[in-house]
Amino acid sequence: MVELDLTADLQQQVAQAYRTKTPLNICAGNTKAFYGRQATGQKLDVSGHSGILSYEPSELVLTARAGTPLTHIEAALSAHGQMLAFEPPHWGNAATIGGTLACNLSGPRRVYTGSARDFLLGCHVLNGQADLLHFGGEVMKNVAGYDAARLMAGAMGTLGVLLDVSLKVLPMPLHKLTLVQTGICAADALVKMNELAGKALPLSASAWVNGDLYLRFSGAASTIAAVKQNLAGDALAEDEAFWLAIRELQHGFFEGELPLWRIALPQVAVQPEVAGDWLIEWGGAQRWLRSDAPAELIRAQVAALGGHAAILHGGDRTGEIFQPLSAGVALLHQRLKLAFDPARILNPRRMYENL
């Protein structure tokens, strides 16, 4: 893999865009190009800015440039028996660590070990005035200054161009087991997932689809043996393939033409009363919906239950994709946007119309 430091080049491009008030469309692997509102602006390609800058397995910390492919990072970690514990979705072979953090994407293990944002320790970014800024660091405990590093996670490039990220990594569990329980309704599945999560068990993923409940456990051989002996369910032979398909939105559920919604809810919230097909993950905290019900109905139902809804496929990408914010919180968003990007050149309107 070619490893290049394009910091100066990227800084120059952002500075030029700031001078000329030219909107930029930050991209790298283009695997998340479909995510969020329609991208506009001049392309700022970060993909060449890549390479692992440091990796100390004994410190559990890895620092990589934003354009580094996820596959490259995962291979380097795997060689030392470690992993990105938020199990990031790739959504394509060219996925980079920068795009993953910018979207704060996490996979099946998320509610049991933490999100991409949780594992972010620090980053270098270019703000909208091309200032090179360093937030956080490479240590796990660091409360100096505002946590502007984690603010970048999920900001979709609207507050800064990520140049590199430092992440906490974790040992990869040696053994795993997925148990399947069949013929379970959504409501019962939610209760079972949460009852088990309330016990001292090494639960590492949960999903419910087509009336089947899938529970993954990860840990030492003796632990997994104890789980197998004590809990109901049949062992799933192809569990690797199953969780990969869920993570990558390649399970049969994700096929078809109906709009796809990603719905975040409190884990034990009841199912929203929206007609459609559901796939439940994360103990109920992430639910996928295939439905052509009106967006307003879905958003109102989900908000009433304390959650929020985003449309991933099949919506109008010039309209709002993410849940509208309350007036006071929306105002803080606009002020923060101006604090980082006064000329509004970084991925404008990619997240919300007015950011």
């Binding site: 998320r110 800024l133 796990m140 405990k141 603010l151 632990t223 905290a285």
Partner: protein
């Protein structure tokens, strides 16, 4: 010490302010006489003291909003305060400002056992949350050493840690939603009871913001199941470097201990005198390694940890045989601060983090500084996550000794930055480390912090003068201080 003051003159007389506050709050919730204000003159960092102008103790969120609106109208500084256990002067009052105590907002509003969350008010004590849910086999994981007294609102404001951070994270990893009152009195919900929220991660930004961006009035915390079993191993070493190697080897072997603590010889002996925990007095360093989880997992990991400790060269490896023995080993560590306090009239607790591999060189440099300043240091270390607590021994009654301690402490923090670490792992910046912020962050980053502050608090009323230094302050400090041969703020005029 407290020489930065953007609000030197109040826009209203104290008598008028008190009258207006009494229209909003019951009589006993407004304190304005010097003898009533005394208890609020400092937080856990008692070296810094300042009587507030007025202290208010609202009972309800609506009262907090009303107080904020009034202060906003008169442009009065507001310093929010929880239990006042903070160690960085973050709750040091403002001489012309209102000290806003959240101590009376102390209800646990609801507990969701199945969903494993609790909705609490900011004045609820950290430990009280775990006690309230213990019957359900649940607990709240972050456990700062002050957990018996400190409150959850302060924990969020400081992003508090504890001894279990390596495995269970900081406050930011264990909360889902907060409600804040903004500087102009508006009630806002930040985060959500789902595991993420739409828009920017304002929850992360608010956590650890030291009362600079808003007043926290409600918190939804995550609860975890109590582990089936916990066991602790003590290991003694006759070389600090060996102990550091043992820590790295345990983690490289794929084991994440629930707690991994190191103490040096002075701390070991002080703790032994105080707690009689059975620590080996002749050791240069001891490690306490706690493993928790399912019974099978713990048994497996204890064996592997013992093997690693022996291989690295521990002079003694001791497994606590039962719960009483485990509690005793922890008692020594948990009483290390008061134990060290008995060695001298005063001690000053530092709080830096470093990448762990630099521990031997950092401890050597601290020893050199200790000799240079003529002040003894005991080292207590959250070894798993690189959080160092050097305790500097001194006598506040000796003329000029506190200033010497502050200078020495500053050097330790700068050393932490030099090896790639941070000036604070869990105590916050507050007033105490404001100068060292100029070492950890450059002018561009500090300018961005001020822009963030401006987005939330354009008039600079919330906890003014704390946490983020002005560039002028850094220029003054930088004039004395040259880091790696470079003047930190060459573009600024010197005074």
């Amino acid at each position: 010490m407290f020489n930065y003051d953007p609000h030197p003159v109040a826009s209203i007389s104290k008598a008028d302010l008190v009258t207006q506050l009494l229209a909003l709050l019951p009589r006993d919730c407004v304190l304005f006489e010097a003898e009533d204000l005394g208890p609020y003159e400092c937080d856990g960092l008692s070296a810094y003291r300042q009587l507030p102008w007025v202290t208010v103790l609202p009972h309800t969120v609506a009262q907090v909003q009303a107080v904020m609106r009034l202060c906003y109208q008169h442009q009065l500084p507001v310093v929010a305060r929880g239990a006042g256990t903070g160690l960085s002067g973050g709750a040091l009052p403002h001489p012309n400002g209102v000290l806003l105590s959240l101590a009376k907002l102390k209800s646990i509003l609801s507990v969701d056992v199945l969903g494993r969350t609790a909705r609490v008010q900011p004045g609820v004590r950290n430990l009280a949350i775990s006690q309230a849910v213990a019957a359900h086999g649940l607990y709240y994981a972050p456990d700062p050493s002050s957990q018996i007294a400190c409150t959850i609102g302060g924990n969020v404001a400081e992003n508090s840690g504890g001894v279990h951070c390596l495995k269970y994270g900081l406050t930011v990893h264990n909360i889902l939603q907060i409600k804040i009152v903004s500087v102009d009195g508006e009630l806002l919900t930040i985060g959500s009871e789902a595991f993420d929220s739409a828009g920017y991660d304002l929850l992360a930004l608010m956590t650890g913001s030291e009362g600079m961006l808003g007043v926290i009035v409600e918190i939804t915390v995550r609860l975890l199941p109590v582990p089936e079993q916990a066991q602790v191993v003590l290991a003694a070493f006759d070389d600090v470097a060996q102990a550091a190697t043992a820590v790295a080897d345990i983690i490289t072997a794929g084991i994440i201990p629930a707690g991994l603590e190191m103490m040096d010889k002075l701390a070991i002996n002080a703790a032994e005198d105080y707690a009689h925990a059975g620590y080996p007095r002749d050791a240069e360093a001891i490690l306490l390694c706690e493993l928790d989880g399912m019974r099978e997992d713990v048994a497996d990991q204890i064996m592997r940890v013992q093997a690693i400790l022996t291989r690295v060269g521990a002079t003694e490896v001791r497994l606590a045989a039962d719960e009483a023995a485990r509690a005793l080993l922890w008692k020594g560590r948990k009483s290390a601060f008061p134990a060290v306090g008995r060695l001298s009239p005063d001690y000053y607790c530092m709080d830096g983090t470093i990448p762990r591999r630099h521990l031997p060189v950092v401890l050597r440099r601290i020893a050199e500084l200790s000799a240079q300043y003529g002040l003894a240091v005991a080292n207590v270390f959250h070894a798993g996550d690189g959080n160092l607590h050097p305790l500097i021994l001194y006598d506040a009654n000796k003329e000029g000794e506190l200033e010497q301690v502050e200078a020495f402490g500053g050097k330790i923090l700068e050393l932490c930055v030099e090896v790639g670490g941070s000036i604070t792992g869990e105590h916050g910046v507050g007033m105490e480390k404001i100068n060292q912020m100029c070492v950890q962050f450059d002018a561009l980053a500090l300018t961005q912090f001020h822009a963030i502050k401006y987005a939330f608090d354009p008039k600079g009323l919330l906890n003014p003068g704390k946490a983020v230094p002005t560039l002028h302050r850094c220029a003054e400090f930088g004039a004395m201080h040259v880091h790696r041969g470079q003047v930190p703020f060459p573009e600024l005029e010197r005074f």
